[in-house]
């Protein structure tokens, strides 16, 4: 058989044996959950380091005390700090390279942030296996980012700012209170400890010690199972994800029998490029629904829902994105008030941001505005203002951030940002604390390897 005949036979055979084609899309679901078919490494070592300095210009309250927004996290001791806030190393690939239908992703955090604070400075953030056997329904199981808001779902090493928006930080970055119920004897029935006040009043610096949570933040992750995929239609990519998880953040196990449901849809007109900075116009919507058990009163349960929609546009030299988010239940009341977290309140917020890559330079300029309304339309009953578990009335947080990025190369960049912040509350005691929130300066170097 000559070369041309062999070619013809091979082509006919391939056509007869053809199956549903796979789409290697460059979106977060696919970038984090899959590998390039036929090409991925058995074990690709990768990671990134972020070193930063932040300085907060906020004023103390009348008593000389500071609350968390006026201090540098995760320690919340003082108003200026150098920090290695992220230092992650991981391995990903296809353990058996001949079979592209199975891939894995594992990543650990060694930096100092909400993930590792109080956890000996290290924590596994991702450990997942993806099965790509069913066309249109890939299955990912383990610990990984939940399908949701762009700020949380995106790879943090390509995030265009240093600090999250207030709405993402307070509404979506879930906190898990310490529980004095840990180790309580189950034979005595569900643990109820309402007398212990774990909350903290605004404190003077240095050593304000306002972080009253020693468990890892949720880091937009959960342990569970996800069905997802992406479908191409011309230049458009349409993606979906359905996840079912513990609703217990980075904790490997579950602390109750309740599970969280996560839904995600996106459609993107891809202009070109690949990876985390692929150019395109993406529109997305998401919803999360779960239930939480009170950490200090395990007879109580509370619904927790979050939802949002937004878009992201990137075509150099311009970038623009916006997102609206809302939530009900388990509305975060501050890093110093863990016992206020168990509530049925509502909150909403949004951000609008844009960037401009200065042509023929390595500079990029960024501008972002974000707004967050906490405890929306809530007014405390006059009979319970002093109850430790009672939250505050409606509060608003508005921030304008001006930033710049200098790209040394594709893997190394420096962020500089200056945030002008304004906050107020209908509760006098809270308003006295938040009205002194002022500007914050931050500079950070990121290197990906």
């Amino acid at each position: 058989m000559n070369y041309k005949n062999k070619l013809l036979m091979n082509a006919i055979g391939a056509a007869l044996l053809s199956s549903a084609s796979t789409v290697q899309a460059a979106n977060w679901l696919m970038l984090q959950g899959t590998e390039a078919p036929g090409q991925s490494a058995r074990a690709k070592v990768w990671g990134f380091i972020q070193a930063q300095y932040q300085h907060d210009n906020s004023d103390a309250n009348a008593g000389g005390g500071y609350n968390p927004p006026k201090l540098i996290g995760p320690n919340l001791d003082d108003q200026s700090a150098f920090n290695v806030n992220r230092a992650r190393i991981g391995v990903r690939g296809t353990g058996f390279p001949l079979d592209s239908k199975v891939n894995y992703f594992i990543l650990a955090e060694f930096g100092n942030n909400g993930i590792t604070y109080g956890d000996d400075g290290k924590h596994l953030t991702d450990a997942s296996i993806t099965l790509n056997h069913i066309p249109g329904a890939r299955i990912r199981a383990g610990l990984f980012k939940t399908p949701g808001a762009e700020e949380g779902l995106q790879a943090i090493h390509v995030f265009d700012y240093i600090n999250f928006t207030t709405v993402t930080n307070q509404l979506l970055l879930e906190r898990f209170p310490n529980s004095t119920c840990d180790g309580a004897s189950p034979s005595a029935g569900p643990c109820v400890q309402t007398t212990t006040d774990l909350n903290n009043a605004a404190s003077p610096t240095p050593d304000a010690d306002m972080n009253q949570f020693s468990r890892s933040v949720g880091a937009f992750r959960d342990v569970g199972i996800q069905v997802f995929d992406t479908f191409k239609a011309g230049t458009w990519e349409n993606s979906y994800a359905i996840m079912y998880g513990n609703g217990n953040g980075l904790n490997y196990g579950d602390n109750d029998s309740n599970k969280d449901l996560y839904l995600y849809l996106s459609t993107e007109n891809v202009f070109g490029g690949k990876g985390g900075r692929r150019e395109g116009l993406k529109m997305f919507a998401w919803h999360q629904d779960g239930k939480r058990t009170n950490a200090v009163n395990r007879t109580q349960e509370q619904d927790r829902t979050r939802s949002g929609l937004g878009f992201k546009y990137l075509q150099r030299p311009f970038r623009a994105s916006a997102e609206y988010m809302q939530g009900k239940g388990m509305i975060f009341q501050g890093q110093h008030r863990p016992q206020h977290l168990f509530n049925d309140l509502e909150a909403k917020g949004y951000y609008v941001e844009g960037g401009w890559y200065i042509p023929n330079t390595k500079w990029e300029i960024d501008l972002r505005y974000d707004s967050y309304t906490r405890d929306e339309n809530f007014k405390q009953p006059p009979t319970s203002p002093a109850t430790p578990s009672a939250p505050g009335d409606e509060s608003t947080f508005d921030t304008t951030t001006v930033g710049a990025q200098y790209h040394f190369n594709k893997k190394t960049r420096m962020n500089v940002e200056y945030s002008m912040r304004d906050a107020k509350s209908d509760t006098t005691a809270i308003d006295n604390n938040v009205k002194g929130i002022n500007d914050r300066f931050a500079i950070q170097v990121t290197h990906v390897f």
């Binding site: 062999k6 070619l7 091979n10 036929g38 090409q39 490494a41 001949l98 079979d99």
Partner: protein
Amino acid sequence: MKNILSVLLLLIAAISSYQIQAAEEDKPFAEERIVLQISDPNPFKQTLVLNVANNLIKAYGQDKVDVEIVAFGPGLRLMFKENVNSGRIQGLTDSGVKFSACENTIKGMSKKLGHAPELNSNAVPVSAGVVRIIELQNQGFKLIKP
């Protein structure tokens, strides 16, 4: 004995001449003949070998260079049907680049997988990748291992 030897030499010369002629028939105006070897598991090598083939076509012109990519060992993954570079392989095939897949490697991978790997429709199985490279070198091809 001398006659037999002479006949053998003539036969070899005739076969070689036929092979060269056959190669020239595919690309009669080719000024350069290049065989590219891919036998490495490194994913970047897959991209690299395709880039090199593309650069050769761009530099010489489609009719002035004859390029064949021979894959064997771990490098055969480049010619898997599911490979993410299948679009580029089709594009290079349209530009006249040939792709050869080692049958020995296919057999070995079939044992490990429990079934034969599905190959790109543009990949043509050859009995042994390394033998194919030697054959091509005998036909005047230059071997490049990116």
